[in-house]
């Protein structure tokens, strides 16, 4: 039996081949193996169940294996789905077609158990790499545990970040910069944005009131502490590209588009794109979450603050993405909070008044917001 079984879906309209594959996989120790003879049904199951490996026949009536693969790749899953195409088609053009659709590997028909085992060993190595996600997120949660009032902040903001990245990837301006790797990486590493807070003294980090100028200077250091920590990890593992993204996010998520942010006062596109995205996600979550020093703002108020910050605090293109995806933001919050905790507009008039005052002042971060929102 395998120590860490993964869930596998076999898709084949040929029940003989499907049965053979399923039984062979059981024999090899894979306990969670499911079978579907129809690609449309298979897609539904892939969307709703946590399959880590899909082995699909190429030629099937209706949706083909290549179409299924393409469809899976067009959707973002929390974890990577390793896709093996099963085929007796052996021409180079077919292989290219499969690879272009996003297939990770091929398996020839009829399946040879040795080949199947070797292919799955590769698949398991790739899938195991995804376990780093758990470690990364655990690390982020550990850092967050010193400041636990934010609830599911990390869970929400990584989903907000992903939504923004997905949308921006569809725009001409970012089409070459944002691909599925970027989207996965920002989902993975955005929770590390405040990891440097582990280096901030409790009397500052947990202070309920407004920080003094000196205290705020100390607080700002969480960006450099976090990025230096991640830089050290990157030096040890230079091929871990996602750590580069994590460094950029930790270092630059408090930079502002007009150059008035910290720690370096970077301006415009000198701020890494990932940090410009996370900035919007982070602030939106801070605004719509109840803190000891403020009630949660309604979505409408938060949206107005972010819109007003376009070009000053935030990248206008990212703000445009936020506007386009704002209903998804509300849905994410509802889902992750387990209840509709964003107050309705009418119920948060006080918040709206405060926010309006902040917005008109141009920089909401300097007018009584606790450091949790801005640091």
């Amino acid at each position: 039996m395998l120590n860490d079984p993964v869930k596998i879906l076999v898709v084949d309209d040929d029940v003989v081949c499907g049965e053979f594959l399923r039984e062979t996989l059981y024999e090899m120790g894979y306990e969670e193996v499911e079978f579907e003879s129809n690609a449309n049904d298979a897609y539904e199951r892939i969307c709703n169940e946590n399959f880590r490996i899909v082995i699909s026949d190429w030629q099937m009536p209706g949706m083909s294996g290549v179409d299924l693969c393409h469809k899976v790749r067009s959707r973002q899953f929390g974890e990577y789905v390793y896709f093996i195409l099963l085929t007796s088609l052996s021409r180079g053009s077919h292989l290219c077609q499969g690879l272009e659709a996003g297939a990770d590997d091929f398996l020839s028909k009829p399946c040879d158990p040795c080949e199947l085992q070797v292919r799955l060993n590769v698949a398991n190595r790739i899938v195991a790499l995804e376990n780093r996600n758990l470690i990364v997120f655990s690390l982020a949660k550990l850092a967050e545990s010193r400041d636990p009032e934010t609830g599911a902040h990390l869970e929400r903001m990584r989903e907000y970040s992903r939504e923004l990245a997905i949308y921006l990837g569809t725009t001409a301006h970012f089409a070459n910069e944002i691909n599925s790797d970027f989207i996965r990486a920002i989902f993975l590493t955005s929770p590390l944005h405040d990891i440097g807070k582990v280096g901030i003294p409790d009397n500052i980090l947990l202070k309920p009131g407004k920080l003094s100028v000196e205290e705020f200077e100390v607080m700002k250091q969480h960006t450099t502490i976090g990025s230096q920590t991640l830089e050290a990890a990157l030096s040890a593992y230079p091929n871990a590209d996602y750590l580069r993204l994590a460094c950029d996010i930790a270092a630059c998520h408090h930079e502002k588009f007009d150059g008035s942010g910290y720690p370096k006062g970077l301006r415009g596109e000198a701020i890494p794109l990932c940090a410009r995205i996370v900035a919007v996600a982070d602030v939106y979550d801070a605004l719509t979450t109840k803190r000891v020093y403020k009630e949660a703002f309604s979505h409408e108020v938060a949206a107005r603050i972010i819109t007003d910050g376009s070009g000053a605090h935030f990248d206008p293109r990212v703000v445009d993405a936020f506007i386009a995806k704002q209903h998804d933001f509300e849905e994410i919050k509802r889902r992750l909070d387990g209840d509709p905790s964003i107050p309705a507009q009418a119920e948060s008039q006080k918040s709206a008044m405060i926010a309006s005052a902040l917005a008109s002042a141009g920089d909401h971060t300097q007018l009584g917001f606790n450091q949790s929102q801005t640091c």
Partner: protein, 125 residues
């Protein structure tokens, strides 16, 4: 395994190859062969209909499927004939294709007769 040791070269199924592919699991061999019997009858009928109806795309798909199914159980001659139909479905005339289909049906009968001797029920398929 009885099925493997009783074979000779004219066997329509390469049982040693099949047994090896099934990791030496005789129960799995029998289960896969039962599935094969259930499926290939239906597919062959559909293939004949597709050829008679001059549905080239469906003919190719079904011939490809029969080829794959046959290969899975190491019915090599069946697989070869099905492959021939798959390759020629677009260009050959209907009579030639039906002739090939008859050959395929004959080979299927030979496979089924062979399986009958090992108590795999094929009469209802």
């Amino acid at each position: 395994m009885a099925t493997a040791t009783a074979l000779n070269h004219s066997s329509p199924i390469e049982c040693n190859e099949l047994l090896e592919r099934c990791l030496g699991n005789e129960t799995l061999v029998l289960r896969v062969l039962k599935k094969f019997v259930d499926q290939v009858g239906t597919d062959l009928d559909l293939l004949v209909s597709a050829i008679a109806g001059r549905d080239v795309t469906e003919s190719i798909r079904l011939a490809h499927k029969v080829r794959g199914t046959s290969l899975s159980v190491s019915a090599l001659e069946m697989s070869k004939i099905a492959h021939d139909i798959e390759l020629r479905a677009e260009t050959a005339n209907e009579a030639d294709l039906l002739k090939l289909t008859v050959n395929l049906a004959k080979e299927r009968s030979r496979v089924f007769d062979f399986l009958d001797t090992f108590c795999i029920a094929t009469k209802d398929a």
